[in-house]
């Protein structure tokens, strides 16, 4: 069953790649219209990165309530994957910014807020590395993750109000409507689903690998 699901995911993401290049139209109002195809990979990566953040917060809360080491491990792996997808989203975003805006980095509100969340993920991992006792590590890391969840939303709300943005409208724009070609929507949502599945699959694998290596190193 698991092998079947993995194959299904492989086929799904392959179809998304094909759809991104042969089914969805390009955005004609862009400076380089073809560059809009990056949306099918860049946006799901950013979504997966936030999935890692939210997942870490949920698992941290569960750890604080139940003190089950599995939840602590799940939170840590979610942050690692969030960092990975966040770096990928930042890099793909920078490549696109170079093509459309002419500069890799220009402190656009989106770039600022994703950089801040990447700093947060990295700080969380640094904290975990500086505590040896597993129980204490879980406790402190979970508290820090919850603190991050309380504080970082401010950044996403404040920064766009201070500086002005060139970033294309979010998928659901300010008026609460989705203004996109339906074919672009089909591919984008399929890609988002595929990336989310990829996230949970890798998350599951990594948690199991870490559980095995912990059991192996235990006396």
């Amino acid at each position: 069953m698991k092998t079947f699901l993995a194959w299904l995911l492989w086929i799904w993401i392959s179809l998304v790649i094909v759809g991104a290049f042969f089914y969805a139209p390009v955005a004609e109002n862009f400076r380089v219209p073809g560059s809009s195809r990056i949306v099918f990979f860049h946006v799901p990566m950013a979504w997966s990165s936030f999935l890692g953040f939210i997942g870490a917060a949920v698992w941290s809360l569960r750890y604080l309530l139940r003190r089950d080491p599995r939840h602590d491990r799940a939170a840590a792996v979610a942050i690692q994957l969030g960092l990975l997808f966040g770096v990928l989203a930042t890099v793909t975003g920078a490549v696109w910014a170079r093509i459309e805006w002419g500069a890799w980095w220009n402190w656009d509100p989106r770039q600022t807020s994703i950089l801040a969340s990447l700093l947060f993920y990295a700080a969380y991992l640094a904290l975990r590395q500086s505590v040896d006792d597993p129980e204490k590590r879980g406790r402190l890391a979970a508290a820090y993750a919850m603190l991050g969840l309380v504080v970082t939303p401010f950044l996403f709300w404040i920064v766009p109000r201070i500086t002005f943005s060139l970033h294309p409208e979010p998928v659901v724009n300010a008026s609460g409507k989705v203004e996109m070609d339906p074919r672009i929507q089909h591919v984008l949502y399929s890609s988002g689903l595929g990336f989310a599945a990829l996230f949970f699959w890798v998350h599951n694998l990594e948690c199991r690998i870490q559980a095995l290596s912990e059991r192996k190193s235990a006396p």
Partner: protein
């Protein structure tokens, strides 16, 4: 009636505990003057460096209004990072943390330490800000807004740093870890405070207002009160 009395008695004990922690912090501080010396000297040194290289002759007035508020908050942030973590690190190093765990309830302890941090930060701001304004000849268009930003921003700095300090005190490599952990937490506060300080200097309030800063303060305080017992009690 009796339940109201118990509640009042409990609140009284709680307040007494918080006050005792606050008084103890300052008494310990005056014995060594560690935080006061590091904070004060660090602030004055950076202040002199900044105002000497960017002072009245070094920066054009129009650039000054955008650059100088940033530097003021950077001086404050790093001074806080130099002195404030001490409040918890010293408890672990002198092995008094266990006694403190027995003596006070976590929330009262957190409030006492927070109050200590707040007075320290406010004293620092009272020392640094006038000197900074004088040395860089920065004219403030609305001093009231500046005072409000310093008070609300100072509280946010103290609250965020107190919680992060309690986390890093139990980890290895405490000094460096504090900067790493506190920066993402304090970043929204600094972005807000810098923007508002700019607004105070030019007399033109920006896109965000002081209430957002107060909202941040409230969020960090509530998070601190809820998370501190988990961090503190093994």
């Amino acid at each position: 009636m009796s339940s109201t009395l118990t509640w009042a008695a409990e609140a009284g004990t709680w307040a007494a505990e918080a006050a005792a922690v606050f008084v103890k912090e300052w008494r310990c501080e005056f014995r060594t003057r560690y935080a006061l010396n590091t904070l004060g000297l660090f602030a004055v040194t950076t202040l002199v460096v900044v105002s000497f290289s960017l002072g009245p002759l070094g920066v054009v007035r129009s650039q000054g209004t955008s650059v100088l508020p940033v530097l003021l908050w950077i001086i404050l942030l790093f001074s806080v990072a130099a002195g404030l973590p001490r409040a918890f690190v010293q408890e672990e190093e002198s092995q008094t943390a266990t006694a403190l765990r027995l003596a006070a309830t976590p929330s009262a302890l957190f409030c006492g330490k927070l109050l200590y941090g707040l007075t320290l930060v406010l004293a620092l701001e009272a020392l640094v800000t006038p000197a900074y304004l004088v040395m860089t000849s920065l004219d403030v268009a609305s001093p009231g807004l500046l005072a409000a930003v310093l008070a609300a921003g100072g509280y946010g700095l103290a609250a965020g740093s107190t919680l992060v300090a309690s986390i890093i005190a139990q980890a290895r490599s405490k000094g460096t870890l504090f900067s790493v952990l506190s920066f993402p937490v304090l970043l929204p506060l600094l972005v807000l405070a810098v923007d508002l300080t700019r607004g105070a200097v030019t007399g033109d309030p920006g896109g965000v207002a002081v209430p957002v800063l107060l909202l941040y303060d409230a969020a960090v305080t509530v998070a601190g009160l809820m998370l501190f017992p988990v961090v503190w009690n093994p």
